[in-house]
Amino acid sequence: MFVAFSLYPIIVTAYLSFTRYDMLTPPEWYGLGNYASLMQDPLFWQSVKATVYYVFGTYVPTWFLALAIALALNREFRLKGFFRALYFTPVVMSMVVVAVIWKLMYHPFGLINNLFSFAITQPIGWLTDQRLAPLALVIMSIWKSTGYFMVIFLAGLQGIPTDYYEAARIDGASGWQQFCYITLPLLKPVTTFVVIMSLLMGLQEFTAQYVMTGGGPVGATRVLALLVYETAFNFLKMGRATAISMILFFVLLAITWVQLRVLGDREEAQA
């Protein structure tokens, strides 16, 4: 079953990306045609840009925020469990629910404009403005995903023996020094996981864009995942869609490889 539903499709995807295929007639060999025409397609490049903006815009702040919250929660105090559970709540919600609620919040007469009504003269169309819509999606996604990475970081932090900190304190290390020389190095495997996981999640995300903007306005939020969906199931260009997904796949592989290499080297250097 694993082979049928995971392995087989990958191989077929690789094959289909070299064909023209509309699902009605059998695939027709097209060589590198799909890739060549994608490279010249401004829509594709716009989508690449939208994806890069979305993924890094969302996850770079998320990493820092999640680590900061994890550090704040990594001590014994009352309400610790409460905060942890609360921050985690957005994670368990379905993206569709979150997207529907945030769509209303971003409405020109919704919550966000109300909160900032002292500063603005005219209602802002967060999701209808080409420059603001990508940002609006990023903010929503940070809200949604920080809790997950916070929990991962927190688990990592709790795995660090407290003796290390005590020893450092006796040696006169400041809080910042402890963080730089104990916490960060020991957290490295967790950080690797967080980075790879978030890129994987970010590149796959399409529900938010699908529900909130439909990729608009003027394609400003049409990320690659959404482009694959539209190309395949709205325009029935399966070959072209699979070519995009192969590119997505190789980018992801490359990032993972670089990440593992860099971290591997550093660990060797330390040893």
Partner: protein, 280 residues
Amino acid sequence: MSILTGRQREKATAALVYALLTFGAVIVVLPFLYALVTSFKSQYEALQIPMRWLPSEWHFENYTEPFRRKPLVRYFLNSTIVATCVTLLNLLTCGWAGYSFAKFRYKGQSALFLFVLATLMVPIQVIVVPLFTLVQNLGWLNTYWGLIIPAGTSAFGVFLMRQYIMGIPTDFIEAARIDGCGELRIFFNVIVPMAKPAFSALAIFIFMNNWNSFLWPLLVVQHETMMTLPLGLASFESNYSTNYGQLMAVSLMSAAPVLLVFAILQRQFIQGMALSGLKQ
């Protein structure tokens, strides 16, 4: 030199941390609160500048009216059936596969395991076209089969189970074998009880993901009667997008089961998630 003594400084830091955490908590809660108050408002009152936090009159019918417009109960049943079956299937397949990777040696095993790891990194978009064609050819569009079977195993689950089962001493398995246990009995009577934390983590993870999954059901289901909750909500949204009060009511109702389960099993949820990160 700081004018504060060490103790005062510690207190000040704690207060600051508390303040920041509370501020963050407000941001987390705000959207829920907004959805909740809006769900009781009339269509006209829902969107206003300046807004009223509380509705001037409470429209409780926002919670009943949607049931007449869309088969919400059916969506809920579909989601429950699909997520439950998918979770059970995953426990079986990932458990078995994880066990076999952890405790058996056979030809091509490491190559096979490498493949499993590789597919862990594959976004669903990469496989969605062939998968869709496959399911279509099987005649599984708009069926529970189409929703359940392709989601019936996960590379992540296999990996998680393997890592955990590797930590179980092989002596137990051999002792059971000497006592004349069949492989199936060993799995259910030895492995399952000993790997319980991993199984429950996996169950929570898979159930939640499946309950919330959107892309795959969107492709497989076209008929209203087969829709799962996220699909149903999206379809309600696209049909009645200006019925804000009802829309928020439906959103909250479809989120309620997960939130409820989370409230009860909060510790297990968070530990399960943490486990998923650390075993990498």
